[in-house]
Every structure is written in structure tokens, then in C-alpha cells.
Symmetry: C2
DNA sequence: CAATGTTTCTAGCCTAGCTAGTGAAATTGA
DNA sequence: TCAATTTCACTAGCTAGGCTAGAAACATTG
């Protein structure tokens, strides 16, 4: 079944991309993920609090405080006062962060759009349904992850 | 474009699944990944060395030594002497590890197969091509990762 | 067979997580 | 209204899982 093979390949590519990205931007994977999260929400005009960020990243708020310190020091994120809750804070990406991410993303994102548009109209619902159903499989309660035969991306000793 | 939305959803589901899996098996994500790798290769009758494992996981061989110690202590992996290279080692999953993983995976894997088989014959090549092309996008040299609008899985402060 | 390369492991360090607990502000309820 | 509770971000201190450097055993090559 080539579909599962293709899915596995995509997952590995995604993992490797995150790795390169983290390497290339000289920050750890969580920090990059956080940066992407903040920027995406900023583009959608939605404020991000440390708590929301922690929930998304799956780390504690204490760790998020440290994360914000790091990304503050590196000049990517800033803490602004929350407009309505004086205990809280709004996390904002700096212009530099926006520019840096835009620069790195633009090309890939454009390519992805092209690829999506190249899928024949008639097949699109099936593609979307397939991915949604796969997501459902992974979301089911008691799962551990799929295995399947290894891809040819390894170097067994033979 | 719903395809990219579906793809994002799949990625998040995959991430969360790994998180639950790591939580549920009471080991860190890298160790689970390693276990899956070893078991998958074992099923394909391919030996796994610490070095190959390190390469796959993207960590140093020194860290892999520690990883093997951990998974040895927990009774999931074993070091066997390498048949032809006396410097080296073959990493083997214990029966218990096989059973544990099989138990956790069986249902999900079965579901995934069903989902794949439910995709209409006519659309399958398009689905596979889409995923392959997306993987290529992510593999391109200078990429950072896609952004796109955030999904509704967040709780912005409004 | 000497020289070089490869493989795993050890020793010691550093970072990014964690829990527990704090002070300040918001919310709830009597 | 105001006391009690909850929620928020943060601090302090710990731990685990990465890293580099270097060593010993073995393989490979000229």
C-alpha cells in the first residue's frame, strides 16, 4: 500500500525539516515551534499569552517563562502588557523575527501551495478525507504509533 | 485550500500521538522512537547497530550509548555481539518490547490500513503524489517550515 | 605489518525540561 | 462589599537527556 509509505516519508521529511530549521536558526526545536506559533497567531490577529503557548507546546508555564527569556534575549519575542488582565502578558514577535521567518518560509510555502493546487479537483476531497481519517487514527485513545516496514532511508549492517 | 489544513491537522495529531505514547509507555520520545526503529527493522530482518540508530535519531553515538543503557535497564532492548565486527554490537528488542508495542499498535495500524484501502482506486495515485511532493517541499534546502493560519485548536485571549 | 579509520563506550559538562512555591490580580459568592 | 478562592506569570532548585573529547578494541588499507 503506497499511501502509508508516502505518509511515512512525509513524516520523516517533516521531522528532518524541523531539525534543519532549528539548526539553521540556531535555537532548539521547541523555541522554533513557539516562534512559528506566535507569528501565525499574530498574522491572524490573535493575542498569545504564555499560558496558551505552554498549552500548545505541551510544556509547563515555568518552562515557558524560560523560553520567553531565551527568545527575548535573542531578540525574537517580546512581552507586552496584557490589555485587560494585569497579571498576564501578551507575547509579541519582533519585526526581525517576522522578517527572518518570512525569508525562510516564503519559498517553501509557495511551493506547498503550488503542489496543493496541482492536485486534480476531482481527487481533492479524497486527499483531504484521507488525511483527516489518518489524523483520527492517530488521535484514537490507546495508540502508540504505526510501525510498518522501515523505509529505505537507513543503513542496516546487512 | 483544505489540503494544507488537513496536512497541518495530521501533523499536530502525529505530534500529540508521540507525546501520549511517550507518556503512556513511561519513557521519553527519543527512546520510543528508537524502540520503534529497532522493532521495525527487526521485522524486516535487518540488524541495527548503535551507530545506525544514532544516525536515524539524529543524536550522537555517545547519547545513544546512554539510550541503550536506559532501554536495557527497562528491559526493552539488549546488546548482542555483532556477528562479523567485534567492535560493534547488534541492538535487539526483547520479547516483552515486541509484545508491548504490538499490543499498543495493532488497533491503530489496522485502522490505518482500512483508511488507506477506503481511498478510491482512482484517487490513490493523486494522494500518494501529493504526499511525496509535500515531502519534497520540506526537504528543499533552505526551508524553515510552513506557517499558514493557526488552526482552531488554540485559545487566544480574544 | 604499520598506519589509519571506525566503533562503542566513559567522563564530565550544559541546557531545557520539571515541581513546588510566591506575589499580584481577577473572580466568585455570601 | 469584601473575604476566599482561583488564575497568572515568575523564581528557585533539581534532573534527565543531550553534547564534546578522549580511550580502548578492532578493522582496513597500502
Amino acid at each position: 500500500m503506497g499511501l502509508l509509505r508516502a505518509l511515512r516519508r512525509f513524516r520523516v521529511a517533516d521531522r528532518d525539516m524541523r531539525r534543519r530549521m532549528s539548526e539553521g536558526m540556531d535555537m532548539n526545536a521547541t523555541d522554533v515551534d513557539a516562534l512559528r506559533y506566535v507569528i501565525a497567531h499574530e498574522r491572524a490577529r490573535e493575542a498569545v499569552t504564555p499560558r496558551a503557548l505552554a498549552a500548545y507546546l505541551g510544556i509547563s508555564t515555568a518552562s515557558t517563562t524560560k523560553l520567553l527569556d531565551r527568545l527575548g534575549r535573542s531578540g525574537h519575542l517580546r512581552r507586552d502588557p496584557h490589555p485587560r488582565d494585569r497579571r498576564s502578558v501578551v507575547v509579541v514577535a519582533t519585526d526581525r523575527a517576522h522578517a527572518e521567518v518570512r525569508e525562510r518560509l516564503a519559498r517553501m510555502h509557495r511551493r506547498m501551495l503550488e503542489v496543493a493546487e496541482a492536485v486534480p479537483e476531482a481527487s481533492r476531497p479524497d486527499v483531504a478525507r484521507f488525511l483527516d481519517a489518518m489524523a483520527d487514527c492517530l488521535s484514537a485513545e490507546d495508540t502508540l504509533g504505526d510501525l510498518g516496514p522501515p523505509d529505505a532511508s537507513t543503513e542496516p549492517i546487512g
